[in-house]
């Protein structure tokens, strides 16, 4: 019997990588929570894709602040959900907390994304809402770094399953 809040899988990179994949996600939970702490060494875009699906079924809206101004933007018909684009500095981890709701259901999938990246003088704080217009259950999540820089050693990602009862 699954617990209410249970780790499904966790990864800590011992060597650099361009992606992290969670595959064969069981459909026994209600929601998923992904805690992702990438570390980079240069400019890095971080994206998330479900079920290895690169069609344009993704969209997101974001509100964010950089310490001097607040803004909001949106991206539609994307091939992935952009978690962040920023210049990351080595040894400064960035926290992403991603809640994916009703991931095993037969409706489109929504997620809330919390991004916290402060670098003592630069950085961003953001909250995203993402949409994956697919009625298929999510069984795979890929975290992608689509620029040439790898995720650095020490990058961690943990996937939790949350059960409503």
């Amino acid at each position: 019997m699954p617990a209410t809040y249970e780790p499904i899988a966790t990864t800590t990179l011992s060597s650099t990588a361009t992606s992290i994949t969670f595959n064969n996600i069981p459909g026994t939970y209600t929601d998923l929570r992904l805690v992702f702490i990438p570390i980079g060494s240069a400019s890095m875009n971080v994206d998330m894709r479900f079920n290895n699906d690169s069609t344009t079924l993704y969209s997101n809206t974001v509100i964010y602040g950089d310490g001097s101004a607040a803004n909001s933007s949106r991206a539609v018909s994307q091939s992935r959900i952009r978690l962040t684009d920023y210049v990351n500095v080595s040894s400064t981890p960035t926290l992403h907390i991603i809640d994916i709701f009703s991931y095993a259901g037969s409706t489109n999938k929504t997620c809330l994304i919390e991004q916290s990246m402060d670098n003592n003088g630069s950085g961003i704080v953001a909250r995203y809402v993402g949409l994956y217009r697919s009625t298929s259950a999510i069984t795979r999540i890929d975290l992608l770094n689509l620029v040439s820089t790898n995720f650095a050693v020490g990058t961690t990602a943990t996937l939790y399953g949350i059960l409503k009862a």
Partner: protein, 170 residues
Amino acid sequence: MPSPTYTLIASNTLSTSAASVTFSSIPSTYTDLVLRCSFVDAGATGVQPMGAGTYGLRITGVSGTTSQRFIRGNGSAASSSSISGLYMADINGTGSTFTSVEIYIPSYTASQNKPISSFSAAEANATTAYISAVAALYQNTSAISSFSLDLLGDSFAVGSSFFLYGLKNS
């Protein structure tokens, strides 16, 4: 029966006002920490935004460079700013309702700098209220074994409550 992964480490509900609340001897057996607080600033009146040297819920008792930036909505506009220090939330003062805040501290035992996130709401059914999200950085590669919370010289009112949870990834 699976072992619990989201465990209450310590809690404190104030029966008398206090200038600070401390969590010490935090075990290193978890992966992340989650702190949930509900509090009133007994030295303030009404809802006040966090600001350097003025108001705010702040993490103290840690050594190292600390910084943060935040985004805030007040019911009519959004803004963003930054403060030196681990300011985590706007505050409700006496006569208002409690401020609610969740603070997430990942990888608190890892030998790397610690990113910290918080999300808070200071609502009072008034013309001014605040909802804020904070991204903070604690630059220290040592494990966190204790920390405190304060209100920049004000006191937490009776009934303020603090719950520290540990989260395991395996």
